[in-house]
């Protein structure tokens, strides 16, 4: 995130699942940086850590009550012209995008069958009105089982934008 978008500090906001603003059928775009992509397999595979939460410091910087992970709401992003650079430009070269449905995240199930529901909240930011956050509703930090479940979903869906090895 560019430095001019940082520094906005206020009382932490409670996280609320925006069921009405973000429909279950909505597609959420998640940036996967190259460091989290296994390029040794074909097609490249997004590993679990590509779906981890930000740090507590980053959450506090954006007045979020707890660590979350950033996504872009596809329909809003498309409404602003579908500029890929507006999303990927903030991240290392070669980053890719996966698309996960809000409904799949809200009803997330681990590979072993445990329910691990995620919340989805619209969190528009300067220059990124499509920005939203997702968080784990069962733990203060997203467990590895939930990250793995999201990686499995992403693998099944295929890449929205293929990452590049740089």
């Amino acid at each position: 995130m560019p430095s001019d978008l940082r520094g906005h500090v206020e009382a932490p906001r409670c996280l609320t699942d925006d069921l009405h603003l973000i429909d279950d059928r909505e597609s959420l775009l998640r940036v996967i940086q190259p460091v989290f992509v296994n390029f040794a397999v074909s097609p490249p595979k997004a590993q679990s850590n590509g779906f981890q939460d930000q740090t507590e410091e980053e959450a506090a910087r954006w007045s979020l009550a707890r660590p979350c992970a950033s996504v872009a709401v596809r329909s809003i992003w498309e409404g602003y012209g579908s500029d890929l650079d507006a999303i990927l430009g903030h991240f290392p070269a070669g980053s890719g995008l996966v698309a996960l449905s809000a409904g799949d995240l809200r009803t997330l199930v681990t590979p072993g069958g445990q329910k691990q529901p995620q919340g989805v909240m619209l969190d528009p930011r300067p220059g990124s009105p499509w920005h939203a956050v997702i968080w784990d509703r069962t733990a203060s930090r997203r467990p590895k089982s939930a990250m793995k479940a999201m990686a499995v979903l992403a693998e099944a869906a295929g890449w929205f934008i293929l990452p590049r090895k740089v």
């Binding site: 460091v35 040794a40 850590n49 740090t55 660590p67 590895k144 089982s145 793995k148």
Partner: protein, 155 residues
């Protein structure tokens, strides 16, 4: 009979060259690995160890923080154990809150090992539809060595 895993404390992993002091608890056969808490006997370190070491080194440089070094050392101490000799090469990546993780996958068996800079080490295990577990490294059912061995023999 002492479990190798229980003989190690968390601080062991964060001490350089910790594995050099391991006790004589190597199993002599595959059946002994299954029936006891003895560690599998492999005469060599994992063949992928140099590549993983290089990857950890690059990630450590990218982190540009000495605070990450203990986690790198701890992960290295775990992965250079000969118990991993037959395991597939793990995918090593950084953890946002500080630290590194290694993901192994083979034959429906998934092991995600995470070592944080604050000294916490945890594991996620998924063995097909049969077993799923997540928790502290020190509390891995049957010990981490046995899962390393299972990874090496999964088909």
């Amino acid at each position: 009979m002492t479990s190798l895993t229980s003989a190690r404390s968390r601080s062991d992993w964060f001490t350089p060259h910790a594995t050099a002091a391991l006790g004589p608890t190597a199993a002599a056969s595959a059946s002994e690995v299954v029936d006891t808490h003895y560690r599998p006997l492999h005469p060599t370190t994992p063949r992928w160890l140099p590549d993983v070491a290089a990857r950890i080194g690059r990630l450590l440089l990218d982190a540009q923080s000495l605070a990450e070094a203990p986690a790198a050392v701890a992960l290295w101490n775990i992965l250079r154990d000969s118990a991993w000799a037959a395991a597939p090469e793990p995918f090593v990546s950084p953890v946002n809150q500080g630290g590194f993780s290694a993901e192994f996958e083979r034959g429906g068996l998934h092991l995600h090992l995470e070592v944080l800079s604050n000294g916490e080490a945890s594991v996620y295990l998924y063995d097909g539809a049969l077993f799923e577990w997540e928790g502290d490294l020190d509390e891995v059912p049957d010990g981490i060595e046995k899962w390393a061995w299972r990874l090496g023999h999964a088909v």
